[in-house]
Each structure stands twice: as structure tokens, then as C-alpha cells.
């Protein structure tokens, strides 16, 4: 019985060993649109960043990323997020060494997030309602979603991915009355946003 279990444990290693190029590294740049920020339908944000991919086996890839996004929130506040994290990508089809044009994948991962909220009291028409306010926090987040590579060549791909990112930790919101102010939530809650990213990647 122990021998069977031992052999079963070795099966994943066999699949890695059969891959043509395990440990293949890619470099890429990404553009991201952030939607449904804080549950709101408006206030889309834009972001830019980059990533390194390290492929572990034929079907398994990892992505180590960093990006910076900014979006409006609650109408009068700016939210700026810096993400640094990693994801695991599992290819839903045989990659055929990236000779096929489309390679869809499931992606899931974790990141650390630095958020800064700036509440501007200027009305935008020259009137000011008080001093600007600023608050920031570090938090952790998980993200999961679907994506696909479009392989322009075996070494170059364009990837489109949609991931929902959920932040853990204390959140900020804006209270309008009696005066507009940034309020820190006392409880830890879940809040997130949909990230649609388009990237271009080169395999080294």
C-alpha cells in the first residue's frame, strides 16, 4: 500500500519531467481596467504594470506581478492601489508548446495591496469645503478568474484575463454628512473589484 502511495506521489514529477522546457521564464507588461470598484458601477480605474512568468509544467504556469491602479470612488475621492503578488495559471487545454493560437487558463492567486484614499474638498469650480484628507493602509487580497493567451508566435503572446480581486482587512468609506470625511471601518470586511488585464509577453 505504501509503495502505491509513493508511486502516486511521483506522478506529478513525471509530468514535469516530460515537459519540453520546465522553468521557462516570460516577461510581460500589462494594462488593467478596474471595474465595479467598491461595488459601484461607475468610476472605472486604469492601471499599468508588469509581470514575470515562470512555467512549472506543461499545464501549470505562475505569474509574479506588480501594478499600480487609480480610480475615483464615492464621487469625490481618489483611490490608488499598488499590488504586488503572484498567481497560478492552469491551462485548460494542452498548450502544444504554444503552437496553438488560443490557450485558455484558470488563474488564482494572492497579493499584497497598498491603498491610498485622497478626499478632495475642492468642488471643482473653485470652492473649497475644507482641507483635503488622506488615509492609507496595507492589506492582503486574493484573486481568481479566467484568461487566455493568444499566441502571435511560440515566444510572443497577448493575454486577456478577467479576475475578481477580494481585499481582506479594514476598509475606508466616505461619509457625506455632517461633513465629508474618510471613515475607517471598525470591522474587517470583504470588498473587491473586477480586474480586466491585457498583457503582452515574451518567452526568454
Amino acid at each position: 500500500m505504501k509503495q502505491i502511495l509513493f508511486i502516486a506521489c511521483l506522478i506529478p514529477l513525471i509530468s514535469i519531467a516530460q515537459d519540453e522546457k520546465p522553468g521557462r521564464v516570460s516577461l510581460g507588461v500589462r494594462s488593467t481596467v478596474s471595474l465595479f470598484n467598491h461595488g459601484g458601477k461607475d468610476d472605472a480605474g486604469y492601471g499599468a504594470g508588469g509581470h514575470i512568468r515562470v512555467q512549472l509544467s506543461k499545464r501549470l504556469n505562475t505569474e509574479w506581478f506588480a501594478d499600480y491602479l487609480s480610480n475615483a470612488t464615492h464621487g469625490s475621492a481618489a483611490r490608488r492601489d499598488a499590488h504586488i503578488g503572484w498567481s497560478v495559471m492552469y491551462y485548460l487545454v494542452d498548450t502544444d508548446n504554444f503552437k496553438r493560437k488560443f490557450t485558455p487558463y484558470v488563474v488564482a492567486g494572492h497579493c499584497f495591496d497598498y491603498t491610498q484614499i485622497n478626499l478632495y474638498q475642492n468642488s471643482g469650480v473653485g470652492l473649497s469645503f475644507g482641507d483635503d484628507q488622506k488615509a492609507s493602509r496595507w492589506s492582503s487580497a486574493i484573486q481568481t478568474g479566467l484568461g487566455t493567451h493568444y499566441n502571435l508566435t511560440q515566444r510572443l503572446d497577448v493575454s486577456l484575463a478577467a479576475q475578481y480581486m477580494i481585499h481582506f482587512g479594514k476598509d475606508y468609506h466616505i461619509e457625506e454628512l455632517p461633513v465629508r470625511t474618510i471613515v475607517s471601518e471598525n470591522h474587517s470586511g470583504l470588498e473587491g473589484h473586477l480586474l480586466v488585464s491585457l498583457s503582452i509577453n515574451i518567452k526568454l
Binding site: A48, G49, N118, I202
Partner: protein, 185 residues
């Protein structure tokens, strides 16, 4: 009229025969600098920047591309832009291999440095904004030193320093002129 038609036909024949000549761009570098007119779609302003870029060809089909742009002026009478510089970096995909005629598409996200125009009374601070950017263009390699180029770039970003007024900074930018290349033959 006949003479003009003949000359135009001759020019097309010369260019197309040149375009089919074997030409190696792998490990080559191209550099360019130009005045680039742009139109900011959201703000409806015509602007002019000084742009410079480089590309390094990893292969005949792929190049790494970096670009910097320095905002010079707005052509509108009442502008809301004091400055809007940008630094971009990414990759290009080149459709044709070993030809002088070199059409391509690319993606270069980066950072923008935007300052709102405040007139003589207000001095606004510069805001760093993430920029999404795509480029479509073509180069024509005259020889091993010069190339002609036409690049059309779309940039998407927004300024949030003046909320609740959001300032869309989307822009279409045209770059064209004569560039230098090294290591192509």
C-alpha cells in the same frame, strides 16, 4: 498628365521591389525623435509634444520598445493642461520578416505626469497617473542607417486630483519622420 502617371508607377515599382529585398532586423536598434501632434479626446484639446523612442529587435517579429514624451504646448486658447509628459515601455509585434517595409502593432503601458493649468493665480501640483497605451505603425528602412516611420498611438489615463471633476486624459498622438537604425542589414 502621362508623365506624372509614369513617374508614380515607376516610384511604386521601385518601392515594391525594394520592399521585397531580404533585410535582416534581428538584434537591430532603431531610434527616433520627433515633434508629435496629438488630440486629447476627452478634453478636446490639440497638443504638441516632443517624443523620442527606441526599439530593439529580439527577432524579426518582436521588438522591445521604450518611449518618452515631453509636453510642449496646447494649441487651444483656454487650455486645462499645463503639462502632460509620459514614459512608456513594452513590446511590438512586427508582421513581416526580412523586409524593408515593417508594419507593426504594440502595447506600452507606463506612467504619465500631468499638471493642470491654473493660470497665474493657482499652481497645481503634478500628478503621476498610470497610462494604458497602444500603437500601430510602420517603418520603412531606406538602408542600414535611416528609416521613415509613421506611428499612431492611443493613450488612456485620467487625472483624479480635481475630483469630483474627473479629467480624462485620453489622447491620439501622431509621430512621423526620419529615424536612425543600427545593426540592421
Amino acid at each position: 498628365m502621362r508623365k506624372t502617371t509614369f513617374l508614380a508607377a515607376l516610384l511604386i515599382i521601385v518601392i515594391s521591389s525594394n520592399a521585397q529585398t531580404e533585410f535582416n532586423k534581428r538584434h537591430g536598434v532603431r531610434l527616433m525623435g520627433t515633434l508629435s501632434p496629438g488630440y486629447m479626446l476627452g478634453l478636446k484639446e490639440s497638443v504638441v509634444s516632443l517624443s523620442g523612442s527606441w526599439s530593439y529587435y529580439l527577432s524579426e517579429h518582436v521588438s522591445v520598445h521604450g518611449e518618452g514624451s515631453y509636453f510642449l504646448t496646447s494649441l487651444n486658447d483656454f487650455s486645462r493642461v499645463s503639462s502632460n509628459h509620459s514614459l512608456l515601455g513594452g513590446l511590438n509585434y512586427h508582421f513581416k520578416a526580412n523586409t524593408r517595409f515593417d508594419p507593426f502593432l504594440g502595447m506600452q503601458p507606463g506612467a504619465g505626469f500631468f499638471t493642470r493649468e491654473g493660470g497665474k493665480l493657482v499652481q497645481y501640483k503634478t500628478e503621476v497617473v498610470p497610462v494604458i497605451s497602444f500603437v500601430a505603425g510602420m517603418n520603412y528602412y531606406v538602408g542600414s542607417i535611416f528609416n521613415f516611420f509613421v506611428h499612431l498611438r492611443y493613450l488612456q489615463s485620467q487625472s483624479l486630483e480635481h475630483l469630483p471633476v474627473k479629467m480624462p486624459l485620453s489622447e491620439i498622438r501622431l509621430m512621423a519622420g526620419l529615424g536612425f537604425n543600427f545593426g540592421v542589414k
